[in-house]
Amino acid sequence: MAAPVQTADREPRMLEGVRAGEPTAFRALFSAHHEAVFRAALAVTLDRDLASDVTQDVFIKLHRQPPAELRGPLRGWLLRVTMNEALVLRRRLAAWGRLSTGRRAIESPEARLGKAQVAAQMRAAMAHLPAQQRAVLALHFDADQDPREIAEALGLTANHARVLLHRALARLRTYARERGLDFPADEPLSASVESPVEAP
């Protein structure tokens, strides 16, 4: 999900507008990136309310402390902040013993409907992954980021990002196989993912 080309080209000037306190500039950036930020937060938190909180925090940060300079697209900066906020929030909630396991969706009425069945199964599978692996999947599959961009968003090395992606997919396949679920195990992944160098 890429930002509209027109918005991406005008981002430096719109960011200047945000720094100057122009509401129209901020609204335009919000409209361009809100959905992507929410989806990324949701993939990590597995909770709509938490994802909504994270999304608000990310854009409040953009509103109060816009980046002084951008080394790439604003979407990259926003996703970096989103992942940091979402992972920190999950760690905090886990420490307080208030973390949702995400398994409620399996028992919800929606899970019985045909069109939501895949979503419910996927949700259960995702809930078994560590939050950081979910973050990697979200950045790779939904935000179309390569391992280098994923590494930058999560503060990792590129190789570590590849390893996490590889492990996340392997774990999903194992989960699906053990439960007799339909997961595309034979679909080829990109070369950059298939050949990560495992850490000793």
Binding site: F26, F30, H34, F38, R48, T55, F141, D142, F183, P184
Partner: protein
């Protein structure tokens, strides 16, 4: 279906009931503005206190000859009384 498609289909379903953009935007703008108010008040208060302190220091009356004033310098140490006694009123021009 490829893993990417499966992932996006799942996320599309999860994100289907996300809050309205306008609602979230209003909350963001409100919280963003609210955070600036305490900082603005603190800045104004600090400037006011500094101004009052400056006026209080400058309002110190000049010493009159024969009167003993005890002044302190920046370090808080008292200055010599002899300096005060040497203060003379300006002479009137003929």
């Amino acid at each position: 279906m490829k893993p990417r498609e499966l992932f996006r289909k799942w996320l599309d379903e999860e994100a289907r009931a996300r809050p309205e953009d306008a609602e979230v935007l209003e909350q963001v703008l409100r919280r963003g503005r609210a955070a600036r108010v305490p900082w603005a008040l603190a800045t104004v208060a600090a400037a006011g206190i500094a101004a009052v302190a400056l006026v209080a220091v400058r309002a110190r009356p000049p010493p009159a000859p024969g009167e003993i004033y005890l002044y302190v310098n920046e370090t808080g140490a008292p200055e010599s009384e002899a300096l005060v006694l040497q203060v003379e009123t300006p002479k009137e021009k003929p």
